[in-house]
Amino acid sequence: MKTNRKKKRSIKVKLTLTIIPIVTILLLILVGLSYSISSKMLQRDANDLLESSVKSQATRIESWLNENLSAFQTAKKTIETTNPSLEQLPRILDGYYKFDSDFPDGLFIADNQGHFYKASQSDIEVSNPTSEIWFKEGMTHVNMAFGTPHKQGNEEVISASGIINTPGDPLKVIAGNLTLDRVSTIVNSFISMKGASAFLYDQETQKIVADREKSFVSQVLGQSNQPKFYQAMSKELKKNAEVSLKIDGNLAVSRKVNGTNWVLVSYIPEKVILSGLSKLRLIMVIISVFSVLALGILIERMTNRVVKPVKDMTSVIKTMADGDFTVSVNNNGDDEIAEMGHSIEGFIQYMRNMIQSITHISSGLQEQAKTSEMISRDMYDASESQSVSMDELNNTVDQLSLSVNDIAENAMQLAQIANDTKQNSNLVEEKMNETVEISEKGRSEMQQVVNAMQNIQQSINDLESSIGRVGTASSQIVQIIQIIGEIAHQTNLLSINASLEAARAGEAGKGFAVVATEINKLAKNSADSVSQITNLISEVNTLVEEAVTQANHSSDDILNSSQLIRTAVDSFDSIFQNIQQTNQLIQDVVDKIDLVDQVATNAAAISEEQAASSDEIHATSETTLTQAKHISNHSKNVATEAHKLADSSQQLANQVKRFKV
């Protein structure tokens, strides 16, 4: 605020600083213009005045000269008319001595024979009249005329001379002298312009004929002892006899004097012309200064009057700035400032209304903020509890996952067992194959027996008994085979059971283990049966050997027995076929076990997929949990913001309270 106040300039100062310089400049321009215009006018007027002065001066000089000339002319005429004798001549000339103040010496006459006549009292001395300038000049005209300046005795003079026109010799010339002193006096006393000076200049000889300064008279114009102006003027006059110009600080005008070779030069210093103007300028400057001062005071008074209501208004505005809108503006007047007051009054009214409505709105806002804070708190609580629930859900899914994994493991074990079973049944098959091989061998050996039967016919009786034993043995074999068939049957049933168990693997894998043992037992039984069969067959072999021995004893018996053996071979073939069928059955069992194995494997795979699924469920519930946590954080933030909003609206309410309405 303080720095601002430093920069602030009052309207008064501004107006003064603007108007005063402008007015001053305008006044200066006015003074300058009027000075230059009036100086030009004055100079022109002065020039005109000087010209007319010179003209009249020249005319007066001319008429003065003519006056003298006509005086001379009259005297000459008298002489010419009277034509006096030489004796009479001096008396006549005496009459002109001191006759006129301009030519006090009067007239004098010379003839071409060297005679000279003058007034008796005159002190002019002439030794050789015909060589005198005036005589020579006089010889060139009859009418009296002035010649060039010359020295007569000690004095600078001009002579008027002329031939006396009388018949008879000698030819006489009459002359009269005018001193240049006299001419100078005349020239300068004819100046009609105040302050002007003049000099007379002879064009023929370039000499000064008349000047106030005596020392210049008869000097050549433009010599170094003369003022600069004379030197400049001499150059101008050589170019042109009649000039009117400004030269070396002087206005100068020159005019020829008619009837002579003379040029009258009149000049006046510019200072003299412009002296009155300088006074005028001084007066104008003083008036200007006074008017500027008066203007300053006027501005001061006026701005005071104009600014007063503005000041009042400023104080009102300041009060308003402090928040007090209870003030009002005093309005009387019809100018722009009064209009401004009206506007401010309106503004105050408007502000009052506005502040009131703001107060209203801010309190409503505060309430709303509080409500929203509460809501957000509730939301936070809810999301928090959601988060807890989700946690629990997550744990449950974890447990589920564990169970599924167990199932998978069990299924795996089942598959392993099935596999083992398969290997065992493979072993069975191998053994069966061996059995088949052996039985085949047995068959071929039977063939040998047959062949031996043919060779040994002696022990056919023995053979018959042995063959009877072989018959019982073979019936026993039949029984065993039946047992094997039962076993196969039971195995079949078990396998069905096992498959069913496997189907229900979800509930318990334990049942299957029992079935597996059963199958194992059955396999053992079948192995035992096979070994019994082997034993029986070895008994049969022994019996056959006994029969062979008996055959040795009785070849007859052999022949009888050979039929039996053939039957035995046929039975053997049937046995063989049965064994092969058994083998086939075992093969089937193995296949079934394979199926069991496959199913168990599938079950394991399925339960693994289940485990994966339960993992996914777990992950999902994990994400959900995180989300729930986010929600709870956000709702926490919302609650904070709502709180802040409540604070702000509280502040707004406080601010608005500052205004007085």
Binding site: K55, N112, M139, T140, H141, V142, N143, A145, I163, N165, D169, L171, N258, G259
Partner: protein, 319 residues
Amino acid sequence: MKKYVQIILLACCFLFILSGCGSSNDSKSASGQKYLMLVQNDTDGFIKQIMDAAKTQAQNQGAELTIKSADGSSEVQLAQLKQGVKEKYDAILCRPVDADTAQEMEAVAKEIPIVFFNARPSNDLLMPNRFIYVGSSELAAGKYQAEYILEKLGSRDEINVMILRGENGNSAAQERTLALEETLKESDKKINFVFNDTANWDADTAKKMVEVFLRTKQPVDVVACNNDVMALGALEVFEQNGLKPLIVGIDATTEAQSAIKEDRMQFSVLQSGSQQGEYMIKAANQLVNKKRLKDIKYANKQETAIWVPLSKIDKSNAQ
């Protein structure tokens, strides 16, 4: 404040319109114009020549020309002028009886332009495009004389010159003499002015002057006279005395021209009266129509005069 400015502006416009109207109304064609010609006397040969030419030119332009003679009286002439102003002539053509009365004439004429001729008022009485002079340059006449002398006597180192002037104070006489003297002095020759006096334009006076001069027994090579009348007077005396200096005059009068043809006199300068008359009317028309003088041939720079050219007359072209 605004009102004042408006009023001033309106006033300016009004004045401008008025002045514009004024000037446009003044333009007239030459036909129908009335000119008044005032002469000092109508018997002078040269003036007659001018009058005749002016009449012809006025007729050609369709203007009306009235001629009045003052018979040598300035007062009569002024009265005639006043009458002419009353009768609202468009322009005055004036050969003043006395050139010094020009100022009074101008005062009487007021707005009516005056064309002076044959006798020239002093320079400061002439006003551009209003009070003007139509004539031939007296200076040129004097200069032509000097040039002729210098040409004729070109072989001489020293020339003895006798001058016979017109009336003292007469501007024509003064200018003719001045130009003659100046031109001679400017040459590289020694010029002796053995006689230099006025003979008042008069033959008898000239004779007397020559008689007196002869008594001075000075040598003379040339006699230069301000006019032919004086030249012929001087010629007579010189012939009586058996002398034959060069004799030069001005005006180329009939007598002078025959003397030149006979080689008794050598040179003169002819002012064309008919051309002066013609240009006077042309100038008058120009002034009445408020046009500039500079559009007319031979007008001077200041537009105060029309200098009708002179012709040199010697044996080769004398009539």
